[in-house]
């Protein structure tokens, strides 16, 4: 099957990707399709760049592995196949009073894909990454073996597989510990801040008492307003609401792909200014359902199409320590002066809860995420940002990357050589070949 079934969210790079589906978790791994060299699991293609792509290889589509194995409503321990979407877990568990321990900004990702990128959410400062809540998994290797991996059993392989970018084998099922909730609602406060300094202060004030914190910033504002934005903080509430929990999915969608990117300097400037000004008061409080709170973008299907046929690039980095704060300022100035940033620029402080993952991205510091239309200049600009990230010992998130150099990767992930020892010999990805300089 060589078609557009297998793309990544940024729609860059574009690859005529071949793939096969695995229908049952008991099935053996298929051989790579004729004329292709290696295998790579594919979740729901919500990674932005090329961690889920394998040019010249075969991807194994896991979306039919969407069965639950067991769920204990007393303890909140859930075991399910790797292709189950987070949205399906929520549908099952929220009515029973349980929630995902960690949730990324879209619920249309598979649990296997989320594990392989060791995803983080707005509660990283308290809960760490998803990998901190994985109790066990089964790994299917190309030698035909099935390895049960837990923090105690096959602990090395477990650590390599959490955040292992699909390279250590195919995860057939995952067992996670859910978080207890009293209902589907959250109490959210949104606070305007005038500059970066205020952002850091708000984070410091909020991170102890609020489970979820995140900020949106206006990437066009310069000078004294550099880094102005809205800070959101929230907790689950015990309000027993009567909201009926039907998942209606995307309410509207981008019906076709415009022939050019709709994101340009002008549209960006007006959107960012509008968004910032929209909230009149300094502080706004509301009770909100978990869906609009965690997954605002999921209401617009295929929103990635607005970037036109050339697609987009995401950049997410983490910058540690005091130096990180200074570098963040430089980055934002660079972006504001080019007027090239995006609608959604997100800032968050990562906490110090360590993930078991060997190649895990989050580490203590401030994380910045934004997207760029794919223009000729963007690669040079991102290289500049990379130089700044390297300078402070930070890292860039592979799930969102399509272009970092081997040199950058190896400085961001010092354990990469140790990790390489756990890579299944039949597995590879476009990303992996790039960041290892094809030297393996």
């Amino acid at each position: 099957m060589a078609d557009t079934l297998y793309t990544s969210w940024g729609r860059f790079p574009q690859i005529a990707q071949q793939g096969l589906r695995l229908a049952w978790r008991g099935d053996e791994l298929p051989e790579p399709l004729e004329g292709t060299s290696s295998l790579l699991p594919y979740g729901n293609g919500r990674s932005y760049g090329d961690v889920c792509l394998n040019r010249g290889g075969t991807v194994i589509d896991t979306r039919s592995l969407n069965r639950f194995v067991s769920f204990d409503a007393e303890t909140g321990v859930l075991r399910c196949e790797s292709g189950v979407l987070l949205s399906q877990i929520l549908e099952l568990c929220v009515p029973k009073g349980w929630f995902l321990p960690v949730s990324p900004g879209t619920r249309y990702v598979t649990i296997g894909g989320a594990l392989a990128n060791d995803v983080h959410g707005k509660n990283h400062h308290k809960a760490g990454t998803l990998g901190c809540h994985v109790r066990a998994l089964e790994l299917l290797r190309s030698d035909g073996s099935r390895q049960l991996c837990t923090p105690d059993e096959n602990a090395d392989l477990f650590a390599a597989t959490i955040g292992g970018l699909g390279l250590t084998g195919l995860v057939t099922w995952v067992e996670i510990a859910l978080r207890k909730i009293d209902g589907p609602l959250l109490r959210e406060e949104s606070i305007k801040f005038a500059n970066l300094q205020e952002f850091f202060r708000l984070s410091e004030l909020s991170d102890a008492d609020y489970e979820y914190t995140v900020a949106w910033i206006d990437c066009i504002a310069k000078g004294a307003s550099l880094g102005r934005g809205l800070f959101a903080r929230a907790n689950h509430t015990d309000s027993k609401s009567q909201v009926v929990d039907v998942d209606r999915g995307a309410r509207v969608s981008v019906p076709f792909q415009p022939p050019f990117s709709l994101i340009n300097r002008l549209s960006l400037k007006s959107f960012n200014a509008f968004w910032y000004m929209r909230q009149r008061q300094k502080q706004h409080t509301r009770t909100i359902h978990h869906r609009p709170f965690f997954y605002p973008l999921d209401t617009i299907g295929d929103w990635n199409h607005i970037y036109g046929p050339r697609g987009m690039l995401q950049y997410q980095c983490v910058l540690p320590g005091e130096d990180g704060r200074a570098v963040l300022r430089n980055m934002l100035s660079d972006i504001a002066s080019k007027g090239s940033g995006s609608f959604l620029v997100v800032l968050k402080i990562f906490g110090d809860r360590e993930s078991p993952g060997m190649l895990s991205f989050p580490r203590p510091g401030v994380t910045l995420a934004l997207d760029f239309p794919n223009t000729p200049d963007v690669f040079r600009q991102l290289d500049r940002l990379d130089a700044m990230t390297r300078e402070v010992g930070g890292a860039v998130y592979p799930a969102k990357d399509a272009r970092m150099s081997a040199e950058s990767f190896q400085s961001y992930f010092p354990r990469w050589k140790e990790f390489a020892g756990f890579v299944d010999p039949a597995f590879s990805s476009s990303f992996w070949r790039r960041v290892t300089g094809d030297k393996l």
């Binding site: 069965r67 639950f68 099952l92």
Partner: protein
Amino acid sequence: MSQVLVIGAGSAIAEATARIYAGRGDRLFLVARDAVRLDIVADDLRVRGAEQVDVLVADLTDHDRHAEIIAAAMDAMPELDIVLVAHGILPDQENCQQNVEDTLYSIDVNFLSVVALLTPLANQLEERAKGTVAVISSVAGDRGRQSNYVYGSAKSGLDAFLQGMRNRLSKSAVHVLTIKPGFVDTPMTAHIPERGILWAQPEDVAAGIVKAIDKRRNVVYLPGFWALIMLIVRSIPETIFKKLSL
């Protein structure tokens, strides 16, 4: 709460349908030939809310076991409200043309085994004067085509059998549903390279099946637009049709 017997429960379409019943809290009895797959499906349905799930491993071409299947299902589910028959294979037409044994085997799986199962079942349902029998046929049964007439003829035979059974059992308020899906993206069709707009997902077909059972429909094309396509296909005169490469 309903009691639902699923024959060929490892089928992607059957599994998706069973999930809807499990979500309603119904009781299920699953029959399939692969024990491992059967347990995988049963566990999933339990988590999704089925009140009770029982399983039985059987190859349906083993006609001698049909009485046992029916007895075990009725033992576990005395009210037996719905029977969904879903097992089937899509044989390679060209291979069948060279191989009588393969041809007859696929007629057995797709037609004879269903007839063998429904013959005693129809009598029991007639006696109880209630229940639904829903059988997955195919649009391929509407007209024989050179590319898959071994499969098509089995489904066509099934259609006539169900038609007659419906006629007979309507007198005892037993509902007989013939389900005719078009192209569905399942393991049965995984070898077909292209996926166009005519293709449906098993979940969509499953929703259509449950709706047709709830509404006591007689024959349902899924998705619905296939009714129109097949109307056109059936209306082409045979003198022209035989010259087409379909």
